[in-house]
C-alpha cells in the first residue's frame, strides 16, 4: 500500500506545502517543532481539512472520506484513552467498528497488556497507556497507522519500554506506518523511509539510510544529531563486554550490543564521532578503523564541513572543520581511514531485528 500526500495549508502565518509518498513499512516525518508534522497527519486522519490537497491510498482518493470511514489507526502523543472505560472496553471500542476481534488475543499478547484489561486509564503509567493506545489503534483494523510522537511524553525508561513493542509492531503488521518524530534516535531505529520537513516544506525524502547519510541533511537534523545509519551483523560477544560487528568494510567493536549473535542490527554513528586519518593510524586507543573513500564534501554554514564516505558500500558521515579539510587537502574520491570510538555509539542507537 502506498499513501500519497500533497497538501497546501496556511494557518497563523505558517505556510505548509508538501508532497511525498509513504510506502510499506515505517515512514518517518521528521522536523523541528512547528515544521508542520502534526498538521500533515491530522489532514491524513481527516481531523483537519487542508486548504488544498489530495491524499490517495493506492491511487484511490482518500481525503474525501469522513474521518470514521478512513480507517486510519491514530496513536496520539497523549494516548487519548477513554477515561470512563476500562482497558478492555477501550480495545473493544476499536474492534466494534474495525471488526477484527480475532486479532485481539495476538495484539494483547504482542503489546503485553493482558494484565491491564480490567484497569482504568487513570491508573495506568504513561508507558502502559501508550501500549493500550497502540493496541486500540491496531484493533480498529487500520489500512494505515499514524503515530504522532507516541514516545515524546514519556521519560527515558518508559521510552525504552515501548520501543521493543514498536519494533515488533513493525515486523508483525503489514500496514504502512506514518511516524511523526523530532527524535533522531527513534527515527534511526524504526524508520524505513524518511521525510525531512523544514519550514513547512519537504527538505529531503527517501530511504532512511540514504537521507541519514546525506551531508545536506546535517543542518536539518542538527550537527550533533546527524550521522549515518549502518546495517551490521553481530559476529560475537566478547567476555570484556565488547561485541564484534560485521560491516561491509570490515569489523568494528562496540559496547553494549544486546542483539544475539547472527542478528542484523542498525548502528547510528554520529558524524561528530567519526575521525578521519590520511594514513592508517597506529598506536591509537580507538580500535575501529575502516578504509573509506570520500564521496562528497559539503561545507556547512559555520566552520564545519560534512563529508560523505563510502565504506565498502556502506555510507558513513563525518563532520570535520573546514580548516581540517584545507590542511589535509581532502578531495572527493580520496581514499583514507575513518576512526570510530567504541564507546561513541550509544546503546540506544543500536537496535535489534532491524533491516
Amino acid at each position: 500500500m502506498t499513501l500519497s500526500v500533497a497538501l497546501r495549508h496556511r494557518f497563523g502565518g505558517f505556510d505548509l506545502d508538501v508532497a511525498f509518498d509513504a510506502g510499506p513499512g515505517v515512514t518517518a516525518l521528521f522536523g523541528r517543532s512547528g515544521a508542520g508534522k502534526t498538521t500533515i497527519v491530522n489532514a491524513v486522519a481527516g481531523l483537519l481539512r487542508p486548504d488544498h490537497g489530495q491524499i490517495t491510498l493506492d491511487g484511490t482518493r482518500f481525503d474525501t472520506l469522513p474521518v470514521h470511514r478512513r480507517r486510519v489507526g491514530y496513536v496520539f502523543q497523549d494516548a487519548r484513552l477513554f477515561p470512563h472505560m476500562t482497558v478492555a472496553d477501550n480495545l473493544d471500542y476499536a474492534s466494534r467498528y474495525g471488526a477484527r476481534a480475532s486479532d485481539r488475543p495476538r495484539i494483547i499478547e504482542m503489546l503485553g497488556i493482558g494484565a491491564l484489561l480490567d484497569r482504568r486509564p487513570a491508573t495506568l503509567s504513561g508507558g502502559e497507556k501508550q501500549r493500550v493506545a497502540l493496541g486500540r489503534a491496531l484493533l480498529s483494523n487500520p489500512r494505515l497507522l499514524l503515530m504522532d510522537e507516541p514516545l515524546a511524553a514519556l521519560d527515558g525508561p518508559r521510552k525504552a519500554e515501548i520501543l521493543p513493542y514498536l519494533d515488533r509492531l513493525k515486523a508483525e503488521t503489514g500496514v504502512p506506518i506514518l511516524y511523526v518524530s523530532h527524535a533522531v534516535d527513534e527515527v534511526a531505529r524504526l524508520a524505513d523511509h524518511m521525510v525531512l520537513l523544514a519550514g513547512g516544506r519537504v527538505a529531503r525524502a527517501g530511504p532512511l539510510f540514504d537521507v541519514m547519510a546525506d551531508p545536506a541533511a546535517v543542518p536539518l537534523l542538527g550537527v550533533r544529531e546527524a550521522g549515518a545509519v549502518l546495517r551490521a551483523r553481530v559476529v560475537e560477544h566478547g567476555e570484556d563486554g565488547l561485541s564484534t560487528l560485521q560491516l561491509a568494510a570490515g569489523t568494528i567493536q562496540l559496547l553494549g550490543v544486546q542483539a544475539p549473535v547472527g542478528a542484523e542490527v542498525r548502528l547510528r554513528v554520529l558524524a561528530q564521532d567519526v575521525l578521519l586519518s590520511l594514513t592508517e593510524p597506529q598506536g591509537l586507543s580507538a580500535q575501529n578503523i575502516l578504509p573509506v573513500t570520500i564521496r562528497t564534501i559539503r561545507a556547512g554554514d559555520g566552520p564545519g564541513a560534512a563529508i560523505a564516505l563510502d565504506a565498502g558500500g556502506d555510507a558513513l558521515l563525518a563532520r570535520v572543520t573546514g580548516r581540517a579539510v584545507q590542511s589535509m587537502g581532502l578531495v572527493e574520491g580520496q581514499q583514507l581511514f575513518a576512526v570510530i570510538k567504541a564507546t561513541s555509539v550509544a546503546q540506544s542507537a543500536i537496535s535489534g531485528g532491524a533491516t
Binding site: V67, H68, A94, A122
Partner: protein, 230 residues
C-alpha cells in the same frame, strides 16, 4: 405535615409539571448545549441570546408572550391543537410548557459547561477508530457529561417547580388544573386565615428543593466516580 386535599392536588400537580417539563426539555437542552459548545454556525449568538431570554425577561413578559403564541388563538397554539390535538391554554400542559421554558436556560448552561470540559481530542480519537458522529456523542461525550446533565436537570426541575410568574400569566391559577405549589401558596396568602395551609406548602416546597439538590449531588458523585475510574 399533612396537607389538605387542595394542598395535595397542588403538590402532585407541581411534581407532574416539573417532571414533565424537565424530561421534555432535557433532550432539547442537550442538543442546544452541544450546538453552542461544539459547532460554529451563522446565528449562533442569536440562538444563545434566545435561549437565555427567559432568564433575563420578566417572567410576566415570558408568560404573556406564551399566551400570545400558544394560546388557543395564537399561531403556535392553533397549529398544535389542529395537528396534534395538543392544547396548552389553561391546562396543566401549559404550566409544564411555561416551567420548561423558564428552566431551559439553566439546563443549557450547566450542560454546555460540561460539554466544554470534555476534551474534543478524546472525541477525535473515537472518530479515528471508526465511530460516526452520533456514536461518538452517545458513547464518549454523553457518559462524560452525565454529571453536568444531571446538574442541569435538577436545576431545571427546581426552577420548574418554583415557576410562578410566567405560569400564572399564561395558564392562570385554576385549582386541580394549573394551580401549582407557588400559585397555591400565593392564593392562600390572598385569603384571610390561609397562612396555616400556606406554611405547610412552603415547608413541602423546601423539602422538594433540598431533596432534589441532595439527589443530584449523590448521583453526580456516583457518576464522577464511575467516569474517573477510581
Amino acid at each position: 405535615m399533612m396537607l389538605d386535599a387542595a394542598g395535595w392536588t397542588a403538590l402532585r400537580l407541581s411534581l407532574l409539571v416539573g417532571v414533565t417539563a424537565t424530561l421534555v426539555a432535557l433532550p432539547l437542552a442537550i442538543w442546544i448545549a452541544w450546538l453552542l459548545a461544539r459547532r460554529e454556525f451563522w446565528g449562533k449568538s442569536a440562538l444563545n441570546a434566545l435561549v437565555h431570554l427567559p432568564l433575563v425577561l420578566p417572567p410576566v413578559v415570558t408568560g404573556y408572550l406564551l399566551l400570545i403564541g400558544f394560546g388557543r388563538n395564537g399561531p403556535a397554539g392553533r397549529f398544535l391543537e389542529e395537528t396534534f390535538g395538543l392544547v396548552f391554554a389553561f391546562r396543566w400542559t401549559g404550566a409544564a410548557l411555561a416551567a420548561g421554558i423558564m428552566g431551559f436556560p439553566l439546563m443549557v448552561r450547566a450542560i454546555r459547561l460540561a460539554i466544554e470540559a470534555v476534551d474534543p481530542k478524546i472525541e477525535d480519537a473515537a472518530r479515528t477508530l471508526g465511530a460516526p458522529g452520533w456514536a461518538v456523542f452517545g458513547s464518549i461525550t454523553l457518559p462524560l457529561i452525565l454529571p453536568g446533565v444531571l446538574a442541569g436537570a435538577v436545576m431545571g426541575f427546581a426552577k420548574a417547580i418554583g415557576e410562578f410568574g410566567a405560569t400564572i400569566t399564561f395558564v392562570a391559577n385554576i385549582p386541580g388544573e394549573t394551580q401549582t405549589l407557588p400559585s397555591a401558596i400565593y392564593a392562600l396568602l390572598q385569603v384571610p386565615g390561609g397562612e396555616d395551609a400556606a406554611i405547610k406548602l412552603v415547608i413541602w416546597a423546601c423539602i422538594i428543593a433540598l431533596g432534589a439538590v441532595a439527589l443530584s449531588e449523590w448521583l453526580a458523585r456516583r457518576v464522577a466516580r464511575r467516569i474517573a475510574g477510581a
